[in-house]
Point group: C2
Chain length 364, copies 2
């Protein structure tokens, strides 16, 4: 078990925030050397590693980290036939980690993401900022021009209704990336040398009714509030599409957060995204999504979840029905996806029974 | 007439952008010494000064600026009985300047706002940034997590629908303030020492369907696209409310921009707001607004402008009817305000006849 770690010179809180309430989920196909750089920030936390691809391969995890690791064989064993809802050969498999966690909060990060520096040259403790974001309220009902009103040195500006200043619970904290921006294949192809060098010192709530492209590279969320909607869909092996896993989750999550009056924040913290994926490979994975999203976005912009859907699960099952009905006409893929959404919820509920015994119900 | 000005060391574009297409509107009750600091940036432009308060007082304008000045007597002479829609003893009077301008763009700034410095210590040419904002498209239909996608070094991120990447016309550019933030009286009272020291290096579009608190201190807009909705209401002398002039305009403007698919941006540029107004005086002006906005905001959030309202004027007249019907029950003030909204449009159309002769129709 990992305890509090003291590394000389690093800006580590003396008691790591939410140490026993947060799991770090990492999907990977390689040795996790990238964790060395994160050691001062991550070592106090429990890691859930979801090994993608060949399950016979051994993934090396640096010494001193407290982790559990699941490969495809583990997923199949734990979920049985319901394992069909977990993608293979795609980082979408990470959502299995959300399901087996028993913590309140999840932070997920890609293994090509490193510690970024703020404009003063100081290492950014991304996890600490996410925790700040997620533990302070969101303001989705009215825009605050000075960004996060709960941040030190800021507040609500003149004209902001007082009745809305308590805000609402934050379900998601979406962090950004310095160096390699999260571009689609066409943009990568057109701008191969573009790097994100702009550090925007802001956190903001994405307003109610507005969809956004949620990237899974550097993402934190409250499992209790929104976990069952964080399904990363069917991507990769055997599927006609890839690189839309986090987008799909983001659209579902945002529509459900809006319905349940939960908040989604974006902005700080930045991580350093080290390498661009191959744009040609990406184009092959994405090209159907590029067409389909032209219909998917209006679908999510117009879907209205009925009032009696008062849990994330109910909302998600309702959405799956709408996906089948409204998007199934685009391609049979969406019928399969809609079914997988239902399977995902069934598997989620099986591993996370809604009883006081939840704490002891962890499937291993 | 002012020509291009060269000041050694200042970052002045060699040819000022939109020199003949933009007026700077300044409401004031004092000598305009603050213009000295703005000289390198403002001198090429034409100023419209709206003198508030005692019309017999002489306002001194520093040498070398090209300006026209209107006091209350001028407003009464030009508008006749319709002058009743222009506020007195309140900076809301500035909207008279929007009405008499014949230019495509307006920049308005308060006379206690000075040139701010960016984090490198360089003077910020606020007007230049506003012009960049307003001449590049807005993206109100979907959120871009890397902020303004049209800015150098940025773009649309993965998952942003391609059909929305052209964006839409930008009608408004809302700039921010370093030093004294734009707080209401209660917040001023609670946090008298708070200063805004955070330079957030971002411009963003406020999403469709989201209202925001529009501050008139540092504001640029396209008169052709949204001018007739930039009415700053009835405030100050003889009215039960003050300091809601820009808020009122912002709510009307945003609802109409959403209806007409026009964009509103906020963020850069910053100005240096030099002094906080008296919070006790402000509280007296604001306190009714603090109550009323709790009803006004839901009103604007729920109002739906009919499809056949295809001009700003038609939208605004429709809004005035709704204000009378839905807000008139709160206080008779809103009936008076609704009537003034109609008068404003009548006066606007009188001074800005919709004919090819518009260019020559300037009232003096």
């Amino acid at each position: 078990m990992a305890g509090t770690v003291t590394v000389p010179g690093a800006s580590v809180p003396s008691t790591p925030l939410l140490k026993d309430e947060l799991d770090i989920v990492i999907p990977t196909i390689r040795n996790l050397d990238f964790l060395e750089m994160w050691r001062p920030f991550f070592q106090p936390y429990h890691l859930i590693i979801v090994q993608d691809g060949d399950p016979t391969k051994t993934i090396k995890v640096p010494e001193g980290f407290d982790y559990e690791l699941y490969n495809r064989n583990d997923i199949n064993r734990i979920l049985g036939p319901k394992a069909s809802c977990i993608s293979f050969k795609d980082s979408a498999c990470r959502c299995f980690g959300y399901m087996v966690s028993k913590k309140k909060y999840i932070y997920t990060i890609d293994d090509d993401c490193f510690v970024a520096k703020d404009p003063t040259g100081k290492d950014i403790n991304a996890l600490e900022q996410h925790i700040k974001n997620i533990m302070s309220p969101s303001t989705p009902f009215f825009f605050n021009t000075l960004y996060d009103p709960y941040r030190e040195g800021a507040d609500f500006v003149r004209g902001y209704p007082f009745s809305l200043r308590e805000g609402t619970h934050t379900a998601v904290s979406h962090g950004l990336w310095l160096n390699i921006p999260d571009y689609d294949a066409p943009t990568q192809l057109v701008k191969p040398k573009e790097r994100n060098e702009r550090y925007v010192d802001a956190v903001m709530t994405i307003p109610k009714g507005t969809l956004f492209p949620m990237c899974g590279m550097n993402l934190c969320f409250d499992r209790d509030l929104i976990g069952p909607a964080m399904y990363f869909g069917l991507m990769g092996d055997g599927q006609p599409i890839g690189r839309y896993d986090d987008m799909w989750a983001g659209w579902c999550v945002k529509v459900i957060c809006d319905h349940l009056s939960l908040g989604v924040k974006t902005g700080l913290p930045y991580i350093w995204h080290s390498k661009a994926s191959n744009p040609f490979v990406n184009l092959r994975k994405e090209y159907k999504g590029i067409f389909w999203q032209e219909d998917i976005i209006p679908f999510f912009q117009n879907v209205t979840i009925p009032k009696d859907c008062d849990t994330v699960q109910k909302c998600y099952i309702y959405l799956s029905g709408q996906v089948k009905e409204k998007l199934g006409t685009i391609d049979p893929y969406f019928v399969k996806l809609a079914d997988a959404m239902v399977t995902w919820i069934e598997a989620w509920d099986e591993l996370n029974p809604a009883t006081p015994a939840t704490e002891n119900g962890k499937a291993k």
